[in-house]
Symmetry: C2
Subunit: 144 residues, 2 copies
C-alpha cells in the first residue's frame, strides 16, 4: 500500500540502516539529537492496531533492538519512544536518546527549547553515531 | 522495587481501571484530552529494555489493547503512543486519542497550544469516557 502524497511512502524518511521488506530503520541527521532513529513500517498503515498481531510483535521487537543499541552506544540519560504521526499518518516510531544537557530536557523534544547544548558535547555524541549505525545494521541483519 | 520520591511509586498516576500485579492501566482526567490513558509498569523500572522479553511483550499487549478500546469508543483521528519519562523515569506509556480540533493538533500534546476546543465537543467526548473505562476494565480482566 503506497500513498502518493505521503512523505514516508515517497521518501525513505532518513538514511536507511536496515530494511527487512516489512519495515525499515533509518538514522535521522538531527542537529540537536545525534543518534535519533526512526523505525518505519513500509506499507502505509495508520495505527499499530491496524497491524496483525505478529506484525506488531515484529515491529516492536525491532524498536526495542534499536533502543538497546542506542543505550549501549550513547548511554543516554533516558530513552524517549513515540509513535505520533499526526502530520504523517504512516506508522513510524521515533527513538530519541535524551540527555540532561540536551535542547529540551526534561521536556519532550516537541516542547519549548530550553538551552543550546555545548558544541563540543554534541560533537562527541555525533562521533559515536557511525559505530551505532554499523552495529545496528549488523545486529538487525542477524535478527532477520 | 519502590522509590520513595517517585510519584508513580508513591501514587497511582490516575484512576486505576485495571491492575494485574505487574502493571496498571489508569485513566487520566485531562481537560483537553478526554479518554487519555496511561499504562504504568508497577515496579520502578526505567526503560523498556530493562524488562525481560516476556514482560515487555505483556506490557505492549496491554498498551495495544488500550489503543484498540480507545479507537472503538472515541474514533480518534489519530492515536499518539509515547514512553518518555524524562521527569518521572518510571516506565509508563501515554495513550492519547487525538482529534483535528484538539488543543495541539497536529502538534504533539507537549508542543505549543494552538486552539481551544469548543466546550460542547469536549463534553460530547467526555461523555464517552465512562463506557470506555468500563469496557477496558472488562476486556483487560478477560485477558488476564
Amino acid at each position: 500500500m503506497t500513498v502518493s502524497d505521503c512523505e514516508l511512502c515517497t521518501g525513505t524518511g532518513g538514511r536507511v540502516i536496515h530494511d527487512d521488506g516489512r519495515l525499515r530503520v533509518v538514522g535521522v541527521d538531527d542537529a540537536d539529537y545525534p543518534g535519533l532513529v526512526r523505525v518505519i513500517w513500509n506499507a502505509h498503515v495508520r495505527e499499530m492496531t491496524d497491524l496483525a498481531s505478529a506484525e506488531r510483535a515484529h515491529l516492536m521487537q525491532i524498536v526495542f533492538a534499536v533502543e538497546r543499541a542506542q543505550r549501549a552506544a550513547l548511554e543516554p540519560h533516558k530513552m524517549n519512544v513515540a509513535s505520533l504521526g499526526n502530520m504523517t499518518p504512516h506508522l513510524h516510531w521515533h527513538l530519541i536518546p535524551r540527555f540532561a544537557d540536551d535542547a529540551h530536557f526534561p521536556g519532550p523534544i516537541w516542547s519549548e527549547r530550553r538551552r543550546t547544548t555545548p558544541a563540543a558535547i554534541l560533537s562527541a555524541r555525533r562521533a559515536l553515531v557511525p559505530a551505532l549505525f554499523e552495529a545496528l545494521a549488523r545486529e538487525l541483519t542477524a535478527m532477520t
